[in-house]
């Protein structure tokens, strides 16, 4: 089944085409990365796909539900780029708060316990979010997105600003999440995209200029590693391996 099917998805801000007629599909269970330089249109695309922005024209189907209606929101959860937690609530309270949006009290409490264990947050469960380290805050932020059991999870630069140990721990967490949800990832770390993604789309000027696996994109650019391939494709017009 298709997790996402974009049909000429477009967003214009005054005269600027931030996203220009996107057409791509994401299979259920895939980890799909959106890469691009700043202003390429990644964030705008994600905002439209999780219901935070209305498209100017076109549509996208999330598990067959149009993003122009509200129903698709039951499938999605988002972990924004900035750590989006309630700072004066404890880790447990933050998770319980999110769980109660989707479940009754009993199930919400069960899910909270489960997620605390899954994300190894036991040590800090009664600590207020504002007192957590950057790594723990980011882990909590993703846990809050996952607690609703979303079929489609958007991770916007999840490892931004983390130290190398926290980054690797989070990569393990994301790899485990692949078993449960389809994941859309945006990142500026090429190694992260290469390591985690099943498919990668490179965006430029609101369009997808290349799409394929990391190996396919390296081959397309005739470079030796993925970072060089990304630079080469972004400088030129790329190519479509669909």
């Amino acid at each position: 089944m298709k997790a996402i099917k974009c049909e000429n998805l477009t967003k214009k801000f005054k005269n600027i085409n931030a996203v220009d007629g996107l057409n791509f599909e994401v299979e259920e269970g895939e980890l799909f990365s959106l890469l691009g330089t700043n202003g390429a249109g990644k964030s705008t695309t994600i905002k439209m796909l999780c219901g935070l922005l209305k498209p100017t024209s076109g549509d996208a189907k999330i598990f067959d539900e149009s993003i122009l209606k509200e129903e698709f929101k039951k499938f999605v959860a988002v972990s924004p780029q900035e750590t989006a937690v309630a700072k004066n609530l404890t880790v447990k309270e933050n998770l319980l708060f999110m769980a109660k949006i989707y479940f009754d009290k009993t199930k919400a409490e069960e899910k909270t316990k489960e997620i605390i264990k899954e994300f190894s947050l036991e040590k800090v469960e009664n600590q207020r979010a504002k007192t957590l380290s950057g790594g723990y805050q980011r882990r909590l932020s993703i846990a809050m997105a996952v607690i609703s059991e979303p079929k489609l999870l958007f991770l916007d630069e999840p490892t931004l600003g983390l130290d190398v140990i926290s980054m690797h721990e989070l990569w393990d967490t994301i790899t485990n999440l692949k078993k449960k949800s389809t994941i859309i990832l945006t990142t500026h770390y090429m190694k992260e995209a290469e390591k985690l993604s099943d498919k990668i789309a490179i965006m430029k000027n609101g369009k997808i200029i290349a799409l394929g696996t990391a190996d396919e994109l390296i081959k397309l650019s005739r470079k030796s590693d993925f970072e060089e391939a990304f630079i080469e494709i972004s400088k030129e017009n790329g190519g479509d391996i669909r």
């Binding site: 935070l52 922005l53 209305k54 988002v78 924004p80 004066n88 309270e93 708060f97 109660k100 949006i101």
Partner: protein, 240 residues
Amino acid sequence: MKTLNFANRNLKELIRDPITIIFAIIFPECLLVLMSFINRNIPIDLFSIEKLSPGIAFFGLSFLSMFTAINISSDMETSFLTRLFSTTMKARNFIFGYVLPNVLIGIVQTLICFASSIAFGLKAQVSLVGAVAVSAVCSVLFVSIGICLGCVLSNKASGGVSSIVIQLSAWLSGIWFDIKLVGNVYQKICEVLPFYHGVEAIKAAINLDLSATISNLLWIIGYTIIFMIISTLLFKKKMK
């Protein structure tokens, strides 16, 4: 359920912030004690406890606009609301989720203010219950103003601008001086804005003057409806 869940989160955020306790409880209490002591030594009718107590109760409520504005602008800046906007929560869940905890804080503020006022000579009477109910309506007004400010201002600006609302409500409500003594234009400005009517409604409720309570309360309700509509529109715009 979603509204109560969000209201519960906001209440925890508010009561765990020392600023709430300082401005909602300690500062108005200090003013009440100070003015009562001054009035004992230099008796002025305006600062008799029967007139001072409703004024301080109303002044305390004005801080709710600041708490709400800071809470919302902070949620916007940290992307906490971005996360929630992608859930199935509706604008009404957010608006009432911000209103309910602040009204609760407003009621507690008023109860503490009246309890202290009784210690300074205010007659303990059943009509105080009605005055608390009037204060609850006034607190909705200040929260709706706070939602408007929180939607349009940054986290840094929201504290500063909402303090202007607090100053306006203090100067234009007749708490610190009789507006009739200042003059026609000033008096008219006070009478067309809601703040003066808020204090008068609380006073009238304590004195069991039903007609004055209702006539003044209608001003508050009218302004509250206007600000609620504006705040809902602004919030819905933010959600898009």
